[in-house]
């Protein structure tokens, strides 16, 4: 029991350090890069258009004070939830992000879940029948998906399913002018393509991990023992192989969440889905640095949280941690 507490304490410390480093990185990057740091802190738009505003802002944000003092006030602001001000949107960064983040999650969560299920099932099947025709077929397909740039597959799917077959809308979250159930149906219809594209990528990622894990476990002695007991092949797979393969997958899916965020950003852009992806895309073009920094902080915090949850879950599930011995 004490060892489990110790494990959790270690993990908590690790995440705290990670968060601290991420926060510090965001503070340091603009100040360490060549060129005038004020461009980086206020955004190009403001910097070049209104020099007198810049002077006022410098004083207001304390950018003329010593760096340690700046750092403290930066941390202080973060603690209050103040991520800075986006002049491009003329709104506090947090407010912009909070609205957009919601729509990214709408895409992300179903894709992560569906991708995990799809990838795990296919990976288990391919690994279990390794070397067979079925394995070769499924594996080739996923190798191919794995090799496609996210946004390009998104573009292809728009070309085929929206342009040519006209089965789905070209872009956006909703056609507008709808409310209640009708709006929900419209959003779901708009979601279909981007979620499918993301699901495929999530599945490909989980597929390879699951496949190699099942292949490896199938060669272990206890699988032979299970067969020697007279278990059906199905039971050998489900009760012995998958039980061992599923455990590490908890953390994998959480890490996967981090990769999926990146994918979602790109896919959103293609579908003009008004989430974090389009937000960042526009922010890059406008060189709206406060918004970029804020977005990164929020995304990183979400990914950290997902990983932390996964570690908690893992500690509960794995008897080797539960028992105290870390294998």
């Amino acid at each position: 029991m004490t060892d489990r507490t110790g494990y959790l304490a270690c993990q908590s410390l690790r995440y705290a350090i990670s968060l601290f480093i991420i926060v510090t990185l965001v503070f340091l990057i603009p100040r360490m890069m060549p060129g005038d740091p004020f461009i980086s802190l206020l955004g190009e738009e403001v910097y070049y258009r209104s020099p007198e505003l810049v002077e006022g802002l410098k004083a207001q944000y304390g950018l003329d004070r010593p760096i340690a003092e700046q750092y403290l006030s930066y941390l202080n602001n973060l603690a209050k939830g103040n991520l800075g001000y986006s002049f491009h949107y003329s709104q506090p960064v947090w407010e912009v992000i909070a609205y957009k983040m919601k729509w990214t999650f709408v895409l992300l969560i179903p894709s992560v879940i569906l991708g995990a299920i799809f990838g795990i099932v296919m990976g288990a099947a391919a690994g279990w029948w390794r070397g067979s025709g079925r394995d070769t077929g499924i594996t080739s397909l996923f190798l191919f998906i794995y090799s496609l740039p996210h946004y390009w597959l998104a573009m292809l799917s728009v070309l085929i399913f929206a342009f040519c077959l006209e089965l789905f809308p070209l872009s956006g979250i909703t056609g507008g002018g709808l409310a209640g159930l009708a709006k929900l149906r419209d959003v779901l219809w708009h979601m279909a393509l981007p979620v499918s594209v993301l699901t495929l990528f999530g599945a490909a990622y989980n597929f390879f991990i699951m496949r190699s894990s099942v292949v490896q476990i199938s060669g272990e002695g206890f699988v032979l023992t299970a067969r020697a007991k007279g278990l059906r092949e199905r039971d050998v797979l489900f009760k012995h192989v998958l039980r061992n393969a599923m455990l590490p997958l908890v953390t994998v899916i959480a890490l996967d969440f981090g990769f999926m965020v990146s994918g979602a950003l790109l896919v959103e852009i293609v579908f003009s889905w008004g989430g974090m992806g389009t937000l960042i895309y526009d922010a890059v073009f406008a060189r709206d640095y406060p918004l970029l920094h804020g977005s990164f902080l929020v995304i990183a915090a979400c990914v950290l949280a997902a990983n932390f949850l996964a570690d908690l879950l893992y500690a509960v599930l794995d008897p080797r941690i539960r028992g105290g011995v870390q294998a």
């Binding site: 023992t225 020697a228 007279g230 039980r243 008897p319 028992g323 294998a327």
Partner: protein
């Protein structure tokens, strides 16, 4: 009638360097209630012989011959028919308990799995029976041990769990593969005694390279060399007065019997020597041994030997 009658069994499998003839024309009979030790050095094919009986070899393996068990040829059964026998009628205790036990399942549940499968008991009754089986292996505090995971047990305890699991389905015939490997002297003696006690009234094939353990746990001993059997005799006879020069050499290489080595090394199973497979290393080799493959000769009541000297 014999419980198990292996007739002209050939188990070959392909490898990068050629066809490995791991079991080459083996005839072996195990009577009802008889415990037979199968002795041989690493890579002589003894584990493959055990795996051939319970049919747990990879699909690329080629098996020929007959394995008549209670009147049925196991090699002629479908995979489903064979599966129903495994664990219940014929059980196998695999070697190396550390890798042969599932690391994420409690050992009690792993034993109960066999009981539910072949005893038709419900979950609770099976678990209780599993604890009983553990108690029978003389494991201290079986109730607590049943709820532990393999990594929490010592090597000797894991071997006891393997034995409990192997016998949990009340099999008529047990194949035990190297049950004493890697154990130190005291634990080894305890495990051998346990195997002898717990298999009383059943038939057993004990695969081992430990002649002493086989002598203590078994009634008869078969000696395997380079894929074929060289000598089968009662355990006392093998230990006291073996006929085959290889068995003699093997006995004399035991530390307690003089530590006299057999010169040379075991031949390859891909391209075994002509004539008698042991002739290149045999101290009493004759001309005929190079040219002719000696047949298995029956000496008297169940004792066989494959050597021209013993006729």
């Amino acid at each position: 009638m014999a419980l198990l009658d292996i007739i002209n069994l050939k188990t070959y499998f392909p490898s990068a360097d050629g066809l490995v003839k791991a079991v080459d024309a083996v005839d072996l009979r195990i009577e009802n209630g008889e415990r037979l030790g199968l002795i041989g050095e690493t890579g002589c094919g003894k584990t493959v012989l055990g795996m051939s009986i319970i049919r747990l070899l990879s699909s690329s393996t080629r098996i020929q011959g007959q394995i008549i068990y209670k009147g049925r040829d196991l090699l002629g059964l479908t995979e489903d028919e064979m599966r129903l026998l495994r664990g219940g009628e014929i059980a196998m205790i695999l070697q190396n308990p550390t890798t042969s036990l599932n690391p994420v399942l409690k050992v009690g549940d792993q034993i109960a799995e066999v009981i539910r499968l072949h005893g038709g008991l419900d979950k609770k009754a099976a678990k209780a029976k599993a604890v009983e089986m553990l108690a029978a292996t003389m494991i201290p505090n079986p109730l607590m041990r049943a709820d532990q995971y393999p990594h929490e047990l010592s090597g000797g305890m894991k071997e006891r769990v393997m034995i409990a699991m192997g016998l949990a389905g009340q099999p008529s015939f047990v194949i035990a593969d190297e049950p004493t490997r890697g154990l130190d002297a005291r634990t080894k003696a305890e495990i051998v005694k346990l195997i002898r006690d717990m298999t009383a009234g059943r038939s057993m094939l004990m695969i081992t390279h430990d002649l002493k353990a086989a002598g203590e746990a078994c009634d008869r001993i078969a000696v395997m060399y380079a894929g074929e059997l060289l000598e089968i005799a009662s355990a006392e006879l093998i230990l006291s007065d073996p006929c085959h020069p290889y068995t003699q050499g093997f006995v004399h290489s035991l530390p307690s019997r003089g530590l006299q080595p057999i010169p040379g090394s075991s031949p390859s199973l891909i391209d075994p020597p002509s004539g008698c497979r042991f002739h290149p290393r045999c101290p009493r080799s004759m001309d005929i041994c190079q040219r002719e493959h000696p047949p298995m000769i029956r000496l008297h009541k169940g004792d066989f030997v494959r050597c021209f000297l013993c006729t």
